[in-house]
């Protein structure tokens, strides 16, 4: 069994109209190499589920989003995502705006093959009025409490970026927070990983290492090596956010998107992209973010 593939193979598994789940969080550990590859295709009409960062912003400016399922879009150290904002203000896509915890429950419901999970979250807020498809349910027990029935959020393809993976699809996240990557993969029909390093299976033969492995290999269809592939987002503990690049990218929301695409994305594979942003040494020297 060998699940290794190319970054482009992952992008090619994503078809128009699909629901795409994207791992990471805001400006951290986003599978940006796949996002950039996807921007080269004619795929359109995607439903995106993401704890959003520049992944959402790039797909928005590229006109690839039909519907966005989100709790926020932010780049952390650059708090507001200019491309997302411009598209949202233009009404460019449908939104399902959720509390971050509701989004997690929707993923967990899909992961467990359930129609919904109950919660109190949503009551009193405009999340329910903005999403009339979300129904309530009465507790069948003595309390009789009315609860929100957070619907499952099934995903067609999930893509996450990890620190290490082997050719079987075993993987390890060595950064401080695994975020919700596990749940995106569990909620997905197919999950793909990009990895900073393709390692031998022996690398995982350690009890403490195994605690950093939330995604078991049966969830994973393909693994693509993508060193520095989260740039310009961070990938702790290896490299930090490229705040300077995020500012350049943000500025491109005001009329410079085509130039950004041509300079950094179109016709460029990952090594060529990295040279355009200063090379692997420069990315490796980016300080880890301090929050």
């Amino acid at each position: 069994m060998n699940k290794t593939c190319a970054i482009a193979d992952i992008a090619n598994a994503i078809e128009s109209g699909m629901t795409l789940g994207i791992g990471g969080w805001g400006g951290r550990r986003k599978p940006m190499a796949v996002i950039r590859e996807l921007l080269k295709t004619d795929v359109r009409g995607l439903t995106i589920i993401s704890y959003g960062g520049p992944d959402v912003g790039m797909l928005a400016s590229a006109g690839k989003i039909a519907k966005l399922v989100f709790g926020f879009v932010s780049m952390d150290l650059v708090p507001l995502e200019a491309h997302f904002r411009a598209a949202r203000q233009a009404g460019a896509f449908e939104v399902m705006e959720l509390d971050e915890g509701m989004l997690q429950l929707g993923l967990k419901a899909a992961a467990a093959r359930l129609p919904f999970l109950p919660t109190r979250v949503g009551f009193g807020s405009d999340v329910l009025s903005a999403n009339p498809e979300i129904k309530t349910i009465a507790s069948p027990y003595a309390d009789g409490e009315t609860l929100v029935a957070m619907p499952a959020l099934p995903i067609d393809v999930a893509v996450c970026h990890v620190n290490e993976a082997d050719e079987l699809g075993n993987s390890r996240i060595t950064g401080p927070d695994p975020f919700f990557d596990e749940w995106l993969c569990r909620a997905a029909g197919q999950a793909f990983l990009t990895t900073e390093a393709l390692v031998d299976a022996d690398a995982f033969n350690d009890p403490l290492t195994a605690l950093q492995m939330p995604i078991e290999r049966s969830l994973v269809q393909g693994v693509a090596p993508a060193p520095w592939g989260a740039h310009p987002t961070s990938c702790g503990p290896k490299y930090g956010m490229d705040v300077e690049h995020l500012r350049v990218y943000s500025a491109a929301a005001k009329g410079g998107w085509t130039d950004y695409l041509e300079r950094y994305i179109l016709g460029k594979d990952l090594p060529a992209y990295l040279l355009e942003v200063g090379g692997p040494e420069a990315v490796g020297a980016l300080p880890l973010p301090v929050f």
């Binding site: 879009v73 997302f84 509390d99 915890g101 301090v290």
Partner: protein, 261 residues
Amino acid sequence: MSGYSLAELCICSAAEAFRGDGEVLATSIGLVPRLGAGLAKLTFEPGLMITDGEAYLVREPVPVGPRGDYRPKIEGLMTYERVFDLIYKGKRHAMVTPVQVDRFGQMNISIIGDYERPKTALLGVRGYPGNTISNANSMFLPQHTTRAFVAGEVDMVGGIGYNPTRWPNGQQPKHLDLRRIVTNLAVMDFQGPNHAIRVISLHPGVSFDEVQDNTGFELAAVPELSTTPAPTNTQLTLIRERLDPHGLRAGAIPGNPPGVR
């Protein structure tokens, strides 16, 4: 130590919001809430749990800004997934900085204007709906204006408030617990009639009328309105030397005004 900045006064007022909390996670979004929670932990609430701002519980506040040789003193794990588990259990007090607040204490960081075609798209509701229906919440607003404290309701209700028309079956959610609002003008709570927002102290040189004029709804007030207590020398030393050694608080309130006008 003579003289203190308005930011330093607000940090001490923010710390007061955590008094009596005991062993809960203090989640503080923004510099003034973060320094306030750290100050509370170092002085009167040693049981507070705080994080490094990323994924670890730390046993003492991490100084903000560049850390030099300082290494956070980790005492446990608090990944985002665990934060949600903790929220639902309720052992948490969040202090946040909403863009809009209304008379019910409802908060907005999502959009300004029409929902379908907003004039301004901000972040999204983030965790506000879950925070406010599950655990204690306080707020810090650096600019107390009628744009922040709006007439009517906020444009997108993320954080829920004391608004019975929005509650299931008209019943108040049992864990809804809005505590304090600290602004550049005053300190307020939710202990007015039917949880109305009430001014409990005015910052030095500020009148109730000035606070009211900068608020889009009618405010209640405590009977004998006092002046917000000045920071003590101990508090100022902790803020300046330990919590914020690089002086980032100078940027917390536009113009970095003094604490006493």
